[in-house]
Symmetry: D3
């Protein structure tokens, strides 16, 4: 059987840099729609400061509860433009990450952290403008005793993340784009945004979505009754 | 039997504009107290930015899970000064509302949104200063396939809201004032606030609530024992 | 049997002022680590504004659900430099505290509030820069009918707090330092912070925690396998 | 303004007995469907023993947190065939009800209790086979100090209940049938159940819902692709 | 400073056996009332089978997340009539306890387990009729790597438990009686139950609590209005 | 980009029948340990009756919120010995499954259902002894309007499930064994259980885990201090 604990994979296939850069221009909602409404994490990960935004290629971490050993192992695997995505083998909100690790990660070129767990030193992280999306802010310290893994597939807040995938996070949540789809999703997102631009102007002018999207017929067919 | 799904009511009786404007000057806590400590939603709806505040007459929406069709039907019913209050037939935190709908709602004169569900494009909404009170920020997209209703009585986060009621929302939560009570509640709120003004000065000067509110007698009677 | 309801203790032994002042310089995470990784409340109490920070000697309150009578009894017991720590006999998020009590507490020299319950008038509290750490923002009003206690040991969000203990709260949570340990913990925190300062510089320069903390040997011994 | 606290209404219009008896034969899911998929409470109220079932006309109670005074006021209003439906002005799971009240309620002809709060003496209630649907089992005692109301409209776990409505509860949850709709809903439920009977036999014989409900066409039209 | 981790205390003062046996005859609700409405854990610990009941003197355990080492250390400290009460330094629902530990504990004379964490092998535990009150049933395995403590004061689901205290658990929750109060609480519980016995008969005969407890006067004084 | 919505895969590779039958003899905890402590779903899925147990090869379903169309599409893909594992694109506890679908599934040879959502007709399912592990019991009805998928990889309550994997569920939770690992895991589980058998006898005889597992040395080395 394939072990998935006790492993650190060094060579991963990252999504093409060019596609990542294009994806970084879009919000999570746009990318999620461009993917056909999939790829989202559950809405349990929150930015530690409003307006936090990150887009990078995933270095994944599988943590054990109350143990942040693998966060250090992951540091060595970070390349510029990477985002670290940490999951845990069980629900745990301990403070796996703080300002020292953020300093280290940033020195390696890391653009942010998505973690289904807790973080601490939130004030420092905010002052560093290091974007973190976490389940909780919690001072609780961790040990370094039990192996997890680095760069294995992980499920983070309900989203499957493979090493090298593009992960985008903002106030609206976290979305995962498989590395192989990055360019196509960036294309679709650009198209969607262009389309929305025109819609926004019409809506701002007072036109109704009912008319712009031709909803009146389908609503009537579905049986909507207007009552005075 | 009375159907409550598949309906859009066009003519609703809104609370008098003058009363709404007076109520807009008070916070949610003051209005709740002025009503005799009723009318509050459960504390599960949060402003998408600190300091958000809205007060308007309710256009109500009953949503189906994962479906925001009725948000578009509601847009047409909005009159200047309205606040949209959206409930769902079941617990669901999908992103029913985003910057396009906000653009449309604002163009119609809508002053805010209270929704027992999710919203997205939170950064845009914040930049627009469009006050939204929601259960979650979530990029999750929705379909337009199943009818709910517009302008029927709804239960939103545990609070009963009838179309035309005054709904006030701020950092402290959401309160609902029945349309017929709006003027009387505004009177009571004004009286309460005047009363609090005097109390605040005395408390700031170091006087104790124990004395201002004459609590020492009742506390002793209830059996409070002071121990050294 | 020892009654713990219906009591207000007037004479409590506060941690030495000098130790409190030293502890006030450290964040919650540092103090928690300095104590040997104990003393934390569960991560369910949140600052009502980002960056809120408070450190003081605890005046404790045991509340009854929906009843804030004891918050007034506590006011009289506050001495300059105290922080009020309020627990409740059962889970309840009503608005036990608002701007009037904050005005009173501040006038008495109170430096902040930690409450396993709700607070209201959040906008005013924020403008006053009165640091509050609470379970919820909730306008819900309370009565004054049933006795709790003041200055008895309480369990607040899972943390045992004795009157006079040092309580420190910031974005990372709430930590409790027993009064007798305050000086020793301040010493340990200072030592820890000095140590972290040096580490931060090395990490910022790109050195890895794997090397700084000599983790490679233990990781190999635990069986970590690197895969290419 | 209409007060809704401090009231006990004595004369309420109960749904016709005959309709209640017919509704009692159906499960909650069937009645909910027969109503057009409305009327359900949120799934936070659980039977205190598996298989508990109750159907009656609602005597409603509005409780204050930690206070069960109104449960006693309600007792006097119970008529044979009534079910008591208790809501609270705020979230609270204290033990508002136990074996003594159950003894009293049963003596008055009460057929069950639905409560958005806690109950205690669960073992006794189970042995009495008194059906209770509650948010929690919790020994926590309550006081008798603050007025709520009896027989006012209440929102219980998200469902609006008027006094006299038919309330049905079983393992699947709690559904509310407006008194005026009781007969029509009973008719619709009977029709639905007859229809399901025939379906069940065909499904048991191995026929597929895809064919019985003619779904293949709509699925294809929606774009479902079969892949080998 | 006093360390509270890494300790196993061997000599603890257990509540008198005679008082424990008397307390074992009462339910949790009765004991909680007899104590003056204190001593309860939060209602987050559930019996793993209906009707589970346990009463014993506490051997306490402080666990680390994902680590059940201390459960083994505790086994040696168990004396006949003890109940093990396990808390964790942080929220964690891993399966700290299963049928092997239950076999061991029972062999030592342990009468049950209260744990603010998860347990597994639930079917076996049920068949053994070993009463367990836990936060979750969860198969998740644990390691043996980090020290907690045995027989230190712990906060378990919000309740402070000292080694030797009497802990009683049933369907209504978990209550803690300080060792020194055990006899007095047993007396008060007996008195309360005798009193309830008489009340039950009167209520069963149809008499109202309103009359038995003389509530009509206080209700009228509080302002209750009866409406027809 | 690879679409994962709107697909029904007909040919899937199921784990070998022989391995499935061997795995069916073990509990979830044993299998989870045999896999090296991975493969578990989060403890949010509960059996609808105590003692429910199921082991089969997974037919996976990806549902849309409030929509059970795909449950019917899945029915046709069921082969004898399969277990249906249903996830949803977002958190939703509606009643996706009831006695009619259970009748249909059983007729096709289905051995159980694991669903990150709600089910209804719980009393009927219990009487049928159809094992279901669900997030909630909820009567809430669903529509058939939006495509999800059948037999694509899904994340169910945090666990990744591929079609054909072995899924085992009991009172302790849900574990997923990749199809390719089924035989090896069955071997490891058998070995583990044999080993536990011997341990159980020694523990029942009063021997301590401290001695059986040679923990005293490591505990001392970790610094455990015994205090009298």
């Amino acid at each position: 059987m394939n072990d998935i604990l006790g492993i650190c994979r060094r060579n991963i296939v990252r999504a093409p840099r060019e596609a990542v850069e294009r994806l970084a221009r879009f919000g999570v909602a746009t990318v999620h729609e461009a993917m056909g409404r999939v790829g989202l994490a559950r809405p349990v990960l929150h930015p530690i400061y409003p307006g936090a935004h990150a887009c990078g290629t995933a270095v994944t971490v599988l943590l054990q509860p109350g143990d942040n050993w693998m966060m250090h192992v992951a540091a060595e695997q970070i390349q510029p433009g990477d985002i670290v995505v940490a999951a845990c083998t069980t629900d745990n909100a301990d403070g796996f990450f703080g300002d020292l690790l953020a300093t280290s990660y940033r020195a390696r070129g890391c653009v942010g952290l998505v973690i289904d767990g807790g973080v601490r030193d939130v004030r420092d992280l905010r002052e560093m403008a290091f974007p973190v999306f976490a389940r909780a802010a919690h001072a609780r310290g961790t040990v370094k005793a039990t192996l997890g893994s680095v760069n294995v597939p992980v499920v983070c807040a309900g989203a499957l993340v493979n090493p090298g995938d593009v992960v985008i996070a903002d106030d609206d949540g976290v979305v995962v784009v498989p590395a192989a789809d990055a360019a196509a999703v960036a294309d679709a997102a650009a198209k969607r945004e262009a389309n929305e631009h025109a819609k926004r102007a019409r809506l701002a002018a007072g036109e109704l979505g009912l008319d712009i999207y031709d909803m009146r017929g389908p609503l009537a067919k579905a049986g909507l009754r207007y009552i005075d």
